[in-house]
């Protein structure tokens, strides 16, 4: 029982308990807060493993994303029927079965990996080599992931512009009709 094991036990149980909180809490804002703690716990696990960049990225992307979720939770459901969630028994059964199957799958996938040791900071590459490898500059023959990455970003941009256009379309037509 080393310090890393103890910290892992604490973090993992906090993450798991808050994940349960997401599922079990009735209020949508509270569920989002529990989700925030789950994602924070995961980022802490990354920090514990020495993957600082990944941990910080988890914080800025997912935790920031949860913020938007909270805002939507407040703005869209504060008055409506969704402000408190009621789960029917059938949904419990289906969701529970799916969760159990996924858990079994993950356990099966993780078991063959020998001896996961946290905190092996000496062998990890820093952010500089990682970024250079990402650009395909670091070592010759490496695959450059920059082009696929950029294509994905442009795709996201297209989706954003499309969403904005769809959201505007109705008002736009009405003003045309009046004119």
């Amino acid at each position: 029982m080393t310090l890393s094991h103890a910290l892992f036990a604490i973090l993992a149980s906090v993450t798991a308990i808050s994940a349960l909180g997401v599922v079990l809490s009735g209020s949508i804002v509270r569920a989002a807060v529990w989700l925030l703690f789950t994602l924070l716990g995961v980022s802490m696990l990354y920090f514990l493993l020495g993957a600082e960049f990944l941990g910080a990225a988890q914080l800025i992307v997912y935790v920031g994303g949860t913020l938007v979720l909270v805002i939507f939770g407040i703005m869209l459901t504060a008055q409506g029927p969704f402000s408190s969630l009621k789960t029917r028994p059938m949904e419990w059964v289906v969701g529970g079965a799916l969760g159990a199957v996924l858990f079994a799958l993950l356990v099966n996938a993780v078991r063959p990996i020998p001896d996961l040791q946290p905190g092996g900071a000496g062998t990890l590459p820093g952010t500089g080599p990682l970024g250079m490898g990402f650009l395909g500059i670091a070592n010759n023959g490496a695959v450059a992931y920059l082009l696929p990455f950029e294509i994905v970003s442009v795709h996201l941009l297209v989706v954003l512009i499309g969403a904005a256009y769809l959201a505007r379309a109705k008002r736009h037509q009405r003003t045309e009709g009046e004119a």
Binding site: L3, R30, A56, G64, L67, V70, I71
Partner: protein, 402 residues
């Protein structure tokens, strides 16, 4: 430091002891900085509004924050009936934790850092932007429409200002080629013309854009739309009282110091004084050098915090649409241009021209600052009897001899 503790305590416990000491020191630093920053805020606002500010408690009113603190602790810890009790009580701690975690990666000198992270700048950005969670939860959990408006405004503002702020952080990162704040400081040692703010015109502009967005992300006036007492009573703070209310202010002043520290590392030379050559810990020894580094770093941080205070009491509050327009239509395109500009500068401009430009920028800035200070001392501080100062000069008063 770890070696010293490993002699006293067995293996895992010396790490725990170091962690506890670092956390305690950081908490103490935030507390003491807030103590004096609130005093400075009240004193500066008093002087700007032609008042005296606090004078009664201690010399120059220095212990005013202590008296305020005692008052806040002894107040009733109150929660509205309709509030979500758990989130209402929890939100102040969440806001403070985010602000506190920002300090974990902030170096105070060579080696004086709680956690030496390779990605410290990125980590600080990520953590400091989660402070808004405490605000929006406080706004929602208070079950008051003023609070909810304040929280939602704050969320919109922070989500928008995060983008130009992050892009302005990338500008000096392009110059330095690292995300580690200690490495930033190491690259800017020596004369002040080596500071990244003077590196090229783009980093010079990026410093000011970063400072504006950082002020906005600390929800300081003129961007304090979340509080906006003239329209929202006190925004997300409406239902809070006593010690929980003060935790929000601990978080606010903490993040002021954190973003000032980040600005000091990214643009203003970190712990290097800009006058002394080399690394002070190398030629002064660890303790004396670290003491000097700490003093220089804190002085720079305090300068930026005082500018924030000065801005707060000089500028009127923006409207919410003006806040969003400032960010999305001006600061965001400007920061995009700065990012592209600094990349092209790094690729195309030869080193000799870059050195000349940075020296010219540094000399011009120092001359400008010096000129402003000299002009302040040359202006008459009071006008003769019967005449008015400034733009009112020449108008008659009841005391003007006819």
């Amino acid at each position: 430091m770890p070696e010293f503790w490993s002699q006293i305590l067995p293996h895992p416990w010396h790490l725990v002891a170091i962690g506890l000491i670092a956390a305690g020191l950081l908490f103490g630093f935030i507390g003491i900085s807030t103590f004096f920053a609130i005093w400075a805020e009240r004193k500066v606002s008093g002087r700007i509004q032609d008042r005296l500010g606090p004078t009664r408690v201690g010399p120059y009113g220095l212990l005013q924050s202590l008296a305020d603190g005692i008052k806040l602790i002894s107040k009733e810890d109150f929660a509205p009936t309709d509030a979500d009790r758990f989130l209402f009580r929890f939100a102040p701690y969440l806001a403070f934790c985010a602000s506190f975690c920002g300090f974990l990666a902030l170096p105070f000198g060579a080696g004086l850092v709680a956690v030496e992270l390779d990605v410290a700048a990125f980590f600080m950005l990520a953590v400091l932007s989660s402070e808004v969670f405490g605000i929006i939860l406080a706004g929602w959990a208070s079950a008051s429409k003023w609070s909810l408006f304040g929280g939602l405004r704050e969320a919109a503002q922070v989500v928008s200002y995060e983008v130009p702020r992050a892009m302005c952080v990338v500008v000096p990162v392009c110059v330095a080629g690292t995300l580690s704040l200690s490495e930033f400081a190491r690259q800017q040692q020596g004369g002040f013309w080596n500071w990244f703010v003077f590196h090229d015109p783009f980093t010079f502009a990026a410093f000011f854009v970063f400072f504006i967005t950082a002020t906005a992300s600390c929800k300081r006036a003129p961007f304090d739309l979340a509080e906006a007492e003239s329209e929202l009573v006190a925004g997300f703070l409406v239902e809070y009282s006593g010690i929980r209310w003060s935790y929000f202010f601990l978080a606010e002043y903490g993040s002021m110091f954190a973003v000032s520290g980040l600005a000091v590392y990214l643009f203003l030379g970190g712990w290097h004084s800009g006058v002394l050559p080399g690394e002070p810990t190398d030629w002064l020894g660890f303790w004396a050098g670290s003491f000097l580094n700490l003093g220089v770093f804190l002085a720079k941080c305090w300068m930026l915090v005082l500018v924030m205070i000065w801005l707060r009491w000089s500028l009127p509050r923006l409207r919410i649409d003006q806040v969003m327009t400032t960010c999305l239509r001006y600061l965001l395109p400007i920061s995009c241009v700065l990012l592209i500009g600094v990349s092209l500068w790094q690729l195309l401009v030869p080193r000799s021209i870059g050195f000349v430009v940075s020296c010219a920028l540094a000399v011009a800035s120092v001359a400008f600052t010096f000129g402003v200070i000299v002009s302040l001392f040359r202006l008459p501080t009071s006008s003769p009897r019967g005449s008015l100062p400034g733009v009112w000069a020449g108008r008659s008063t009841p005391l003007t001899p006819r």
